[in-house]
């Protein structure tokens, strides 16, 4: 089996060379940036909004114990059942148990990255349940049998033509490649599924402690149908999703829509407060909320990187990340790609096997600048790098840097190495750009810079000497005792 690092490099090599992919993603995300900036401009004070959001999230995660208990107590008071899942397997078993108890056959799901994180669909399908994704993008990637490309835009890597071909092949229905007609095809298929489904599974964007409510943001109305039609509703929530007060949504809903999709507000923002209450005409008869830890406590325990739990999964950091734009979401091989993925995956799945993600960054900081909840993303990558090398140093790298330190800290050795470098440069032409070239990683695509015949410091010393010589010749030397 190839390691995650080898797989990442292999896929990155393919996609970075794929100019159609590059063009498609650059264009799509370029349009996103325009819309996002328009919406940012409609905030009185975008920076102030980020600051406030970060402060609220910080308050929430620093008192997670209190807010989660408050959330659970209020939700259960209305007849919901709250389950605490310390890890992925616990969450899978809880959900599997509910589906079995209900005697379910078909399950309809709306978009939930937490479900991707615990590989819920695989578990349910292996247990014999039919699971249908109801978000259009997720529906498309499910038909293709692949993970989402992006946490907000799961099928953004596909063209209309590719989606048409997929629908023709898998659904036997694709009148044209117009987005409206393709959407209608998906809608016809999905409407039947909502009615058939015994269980609806959703994710959550926010969990409101004050009122014990789940807040779900979407643009298609599919999450509403997923929640409202089946007799049983299950919501899988990461514990970091808690917000203290209902009023906090006044800030977080527009912030999420703006940063995530360049919208002032998303199409549908719905609050769920429990199962159908006496006298209510609709809603699920049973409502389960599964609170998922799955290493989030580990992040909470890391005082440097705790703010990674601020994340509202808006995807803004992916959208602006040049690495993400070139390698694409699936290359990461993780649930969460892009900068936030490079920060949290080492916590979720282990630094040793996933340290290549923090290293696969130019540390440009575009992510940190874009993050609406002010996660110090690119500096966390530096900390991961330090932690990775502290835990398991690479002997040759350590040696190389020690040699480098020895040279740069000794001016005479530095001068000697420049002289040797100038010699080496003369013979480098023989192997340049070939596999024998020690600098192949650079020279495969780029020319090497040339060492100057005279370094700055040589110039400076020579000039100082000349001046001193001239000064003493003209009798203007420093006045002696």
């Amino acid at each position: 089996m190839t390691s995650p690092a080898a797989a990442f490099k292999q896929h990155a090599r393919t996609l970075t060379r794929d100019l159609r992919h590059r063009h498609r993603i650059q264009t799509a995300l370029g349009k996103y940036e325009v819309k996002r900036d328009e919406m940012k401009a409609r905030f009185q004070d975008w920076e102030g909004a980020r600051q406030a959001a970060a402060a609220i999230k910080s308050e929430a995660i620093h008192h997670l114990d209190r807010y989660l208990e408050e959330f659970a107590a209020r939700l259960e008071a209305r007849g919901a059942k709250v389950h605490w899942a310390p890890h992925a397997e616990a969450a899978r078993q809880i959900i599997l148990g509910i589906c079995r108890d209900r005697g379910a056959r078909t399950i309809v799901k709306s978009k939930a990255m937490t479900a991707e994180e615990i590989h819920l669909n695989d578990t349910l399908e292996q247990a014999g349940f039919a699971v249908v994704e109801s978000d259009l993008g997720e529906f498309i990637v499910q038909l293709r049998g692949e993970p989402p490309y992006h946490i907000v835009f799961p099928a953004m890597h596909l063209t209309r033509g590719e989606i048409r071909e997929l629908f023709a092949r898998e659904l036997g229905d694709a009148p044209s490649d117009s987005p409206e007609e393709l959407t209608m095809v998906a809608r016809r298929v999905l409407r039947r599924k909502y009615l058939e489904a015994d269980v609806g599974i959703t994710g959550a964007n926010f969990a409101i402690a004050e009122t014990g409510m789940i807040s779900v943001t979407e643009n298609e109305g599919n999450a509403r149908l997923t929640a409202a039609l089946p007799r049983t509703m299950i919501t899988l929530v990461g514990i970091e999703k808690v917000l203290p007060r209902l009023a906090d949504l006044a800030l977080f809903l527009p912030l999420l829509a703006t940063a995530g999709a360049g919208q002032l507000l998303s199409g549908y923002n719905t609050l769920y407060g429990g199962p159908r209450q006496p006298g209510e005409p609709d809603g699920p008869e049973e409502f389960h909320v599964v609170l998922l830890d799955n290493q989030r406590s580990t992040i909470l325990a890391d005082s440097e990187q705790r703010d990674a739990l601020h994340c509202i999964r808006c995807g803004a950091c992916l959208n602006v990340c040049p690495i993400f734009r070139h390698v694409g979401g699936q290359t990461y091989g993780t649930t969460y790609p892009g900068p936030i993925g490079a920060v949290i995956t080492p916590h979720l799945r282990g630094l040793r096997a996933w340290q290549h993600l923090p290293f696969a960054s130019s540390l440009c900081g575009a992510c940190t600048e874009a993050c609406p909840v002010k996660i110090d993303l690119h500096h966390h990558l530096l900390q991961h790098r330090r932690n990775a090398r502290t835990q398991r140093p690479i002997w040759w790298e350590k040696l190389a840097f020690r040699l480098f330190v020895g040279v740069v800290n000794r001016p005479a050795l530095w001068r000697l190495s420049l002289a040797l470098g100038r010699l080496g440069q003369k013979v480098h032409g023989l192997v340049r750009g070939t596999r024998l070239d020690p600098a192949y990683a650079w020279t495969q695509t780029r020319e090497m810079p040339r060492l100057a015949p005279q370094s700055f410091k040589q110039w400076w010393r020579q000039r100082s000497a000349n001046r001193a010589g001239r000064d003493s010749a003209e009798g203007r030397g420093p006045v002696g005792p």
């Binding site: 070139h326 540390l363 530096l382 330190v405 470098g421 990683a441 695509t445 410091k457």
Partner: protein, 237 residues
């Protein structure tokens, strides 16, 4: 004002003309410079590679040497960011943390130093070309330098400044460029395309490291675009 010039290793070895231009400009403005001749590197390659234990002896020597310096000038946004923004992190929790923080307040990149500290924005330079300015990520997002270089370029005679559509990394990223050359190269190609789409003859920056990467691609691809450090533009007459 006593100015100490810290010339980073790659500027010393590859781009001496950048540091020479700094000397000429400041001397023309009547300042006396001291060059930290025995300093070569800020330690960033080791630091960014996670080898903080190897970076500390280099950075420690910089702290020693610059302890008495009143104003430290670094003609590279990236190395400037290392001294100003990352030394405090590198020495956090060690006995030298306070020293690192104290140095941070005395470190300046060249363009911000000219504009913000010396109040100079017109050096009488003339550069009859269409140029675009590349924000090095460390200059822009660590040192928060954005207006100063543009203000300096705005005062250069016969120079036409055109902006690129996207503010985006050139893909260098230090050892990233050789650890992930395929991604780094693709990023550089986007940068080139942006500069060409803007119709620029020259890509100007405060970071020779970004320019080294972009120029390497230009040379390999045989493009007509050229790169030049801001200081070299300012030293023209």
């Amino acid at each position: 004002m006593k100015i100490t010039l810290f010339v980073p290793c790659f500027v010393d070895a590859l781009y001496p003309q950048v540091a020479i231009a700094v000397v000429r400009i400041l001397e023309r403005l009547g300042h006396t410079l001291e060059v930290a001749e025995d300093l070569n590197c800020c330690g960033q390659p080791a630091f960014n590679s996670g080898c903080w234990a190897e970076a500390r002896p280099v950075a420690g020597r910089v702290l020693d040497r610059l302890r008495a310096a009143e104003t430290v000038l670094v003609p590279s946004g990236s190395c400037g960011a290392m001294l100003r923004c990352f030394y405090p992190a590198l020495f956090a929790g060690t006995p030298r943390e306070a020293e690192a923080r104290a140095l941070a307040g005395r470190v300046f990149e060249f363009a911000e130093f000219l504009v913000d500290r010396l109040g100079v924005s017109d050096l009488g330079a003339r550069f009859p070309h269409r140029v675009t300015y590349h924000d090095g990520c460390h200059s822009l997002r660590e040192m928060h330098i954005q207006a100063a270089p543009r203000r300096l370029l705005a005062h250069v005679r016969d120079l036409e400044l055109v902006e690129m559509k996207q503010v985006v990394c050139c893909g260098f990223g230090g050892t990233f460029a050789v650890k992930f050359p395929m991604i780094s190269t693709a990023m550089g190609e986007v940068k080139l395309a942006e500069a060409q789409a803007a119709g620029a003859e020259y890509l100007v920056s405060c970071d020779s490291s970004c320019l080294m990467h972009v120029q390497g691609l230009i040379d390999r691809q045989g493009l007509r675009l050229k790169t030049i450090h801001l200081v070299e533009v300012l030293a023209t007459s």
